[in-house]
């Protein structure tokens, strides 16, 4: 096996991993906010529904959720899967899963803001949406960055679970190369790629944190 060939193959797998990673964040980061607000809703029905969603997502393995999202349309509704891209199912499953975790992180951030600020804003006549968007949310973003960073880094490594429904991301390709060439080298190389990927993510998170610390 040529090493350059192996690296090219792994990079093609890395492209799929990055795709899952980016699309999942695009779904989960905003979804988390919706879920956090829903969970904090004053209506017991709305908050109960979101509470149930978070509870189910956190209480079952991501691997099972991926299988469910991909196969449920066929086994529950008879919908043929030929026109249902595996990557789409992967992103839905990852998005729903990470959205629940982000929601709890955001909720913690929102609850950590002194209620006195909200009262002061109300006394000054700010509408509730403005209070949330202009006063509460910017502070929440700053506070949740480290916890969100943790999840984001976990996500990089979790992309390898996509093979549950046969999405050939980097780890799968590494394992296949390892099988067909009877060598551990592709697995070691994949490990290095994951580390570099996460190193870049950690660096980016640090940059964002620094940029947001405009009062320090």
């Amino acid at each position: 096996m040529s090493y350059s060939g192996m690296v090219v193959d792994l990079l093609s797998g890395l492209a799929v991993s990055v795709e899952i990673f980016v699309l999942t964040l695009a779904v989960a980061l905003p979804l988390g906010l919706v879920v956090a607000l829903g969970r904090m809703s004053k209506s017991p029905v709305v908050s109960g529904l979101f509470r149930l969603y978070i509870s189910v997502v956190r209480g079952t393995p991501l691997m099972l959720q991926i299988i469910f999202v991909y196969f449920a349309p066929y086994f529950m509704f008879g919908m043929p899967l030929a026109s249902y891209p595996r990557l789409l199912a992967t992103v839905i499953a990852f998005g729903l899963n990470y959205g629940a975790y982000f929601a709890e992180i955001y909720r913690g951030g929102i609850l950590s803001i002194d209620p006195g600020q909200r009262e002061a804003a109300a006394a000054l006549g700010f509408p509730r949406t403005t209070t949330f968007m202009r006063i509460i949310l910017p502070q929440v973003v700053k506070r949740v960055i480290p916890a969100v960073g943790n999840e984001v880094i976990t996500l990089v490594k979790d992309t390898s679970l996509a093979f549950t429904i046969a999405v050939t991301e980097m780890f799968t390709i590494a394992r296949q190369l390892s099988s067909s060439n009877t060598t551990m080298a592709p697995l070691v190389a994949a490990g290095v790629f994951y580390y570099v990927f996460n190193f870049a993510v950690a660096w980016a998170m640090e940059r964002i944190e620094k940029r947001l610390s405009y009062y320090d």
Partner: protein
């Protein structure tokens, strides 16, 4: 949960436009385990192997588009029954699964052998008593050696039967000494021995004989018959033997007449 249902409903709407029973669109999707050389594996940027090359030749003859779809072996039944793949064509053992699929005729004879380290004191099946033996998950040999299987007596003599996710890992563990022997397909075992010369040897005795077939969704005789007719031509005109030679599979193993 609610979000999942909404997503599923949205997908049902999206997918409604292009329904497909079994490949009316001319794409023949072959499901296989890419951790399974020489029958299906990755080389360079493409998937190849004895079974995949046969499948490719069948598609060329029928004018179908060939799609090699590596799957998660544990999810193979869901993949097949949901129509995500059209068949499982991957050194797929018939014995023990006769009633679970609509099968082609057996085309490869594949004995189950025991691989040990070169120079190992294990020489016969009886020597496996008190040893740790590895098998791949959900394979007929695993079922045969487990409780209630055809060879449960032999299995009961082992210190432990370790179920590995794939053969590559089993062989790595054998090399590392984590297991004393691996019960596996002779084709894969010989390939490992030629990849790593001098490291492993086979026991003279075999555990059991088994044969490979192509597995289709239960009741899909129509597709099975079309594929089998082409497969018979490939065996009759010597194409299959040529492909077998290319992957180091012995001619004597080819049993479709």
């Amino acid at each position: 949960m609610r979000n999942i249902l909404i997503a599923a409903a949205a997908l049902a709407v999206l997918a409604g436009c292009s329904q497909r029973s079994t490949f009316t669109d001319g794409r023949f999707v072959v499901g296989f385990d890419a951790d399974f050389p020489p029958y299906g594996f990755k080389e360079g940027s493409e998937y190849k192997g004895f079974d995949l090359d046969l499948a490719r030749a069948v598609c060329a003859a029928k004018g179908w588009e060939f799609v090699a779809n590596p799957i998660n072996w544990d999810a193979k039944d869901m993949e097949l029954n949901s129509g995500a793949i059209d068949c499982i064509w991957n050194g797929f053992t018939i014995q023990g699964r006769e009633k679970a699929y609509t099968w082609s005729s057996p085309y490869v004879d594949n004995s189950q052998v025991v691989l040990v380290k070169a120079g190992s004191p294990i020489k016969t099946l009886a020597d496996l008593a008190g040893k740790i033996v590895g098998v791949q998950t959900d394979t007929p040999v695993m079922k045969a050696l487990s409780k209630g299987g055809d060879h449960e007596k032999l299995g009961a003599t082992f210190a432990k039967l370790i179920v590995e996710p794939n053969y590559n890992q089993a062989v790595n563990e054998l090399a590392a000494g984590a297991v004393d022997a691996v019960a596996m397909d002779v084709g894969v075992a010989k390939r490992k021995m030629s990849d790593l010369p001098g490291k492993f040897e086979l026991l003279g005795e075999i555990v059991m004989t088994e044969t490979y077939g192509i597995g289709f969704k239960l009741g899909n005789e129509e597709l099975r018959d079309q594929v089998e007719a082409e497969l018979r031509k490939l065996f009759a005109d010597g194409t299959a033997a040529k492909i077998a030679e290319q992957y180091g599979i012995e001619k004597s193993a080819l049993i479709l007449k």
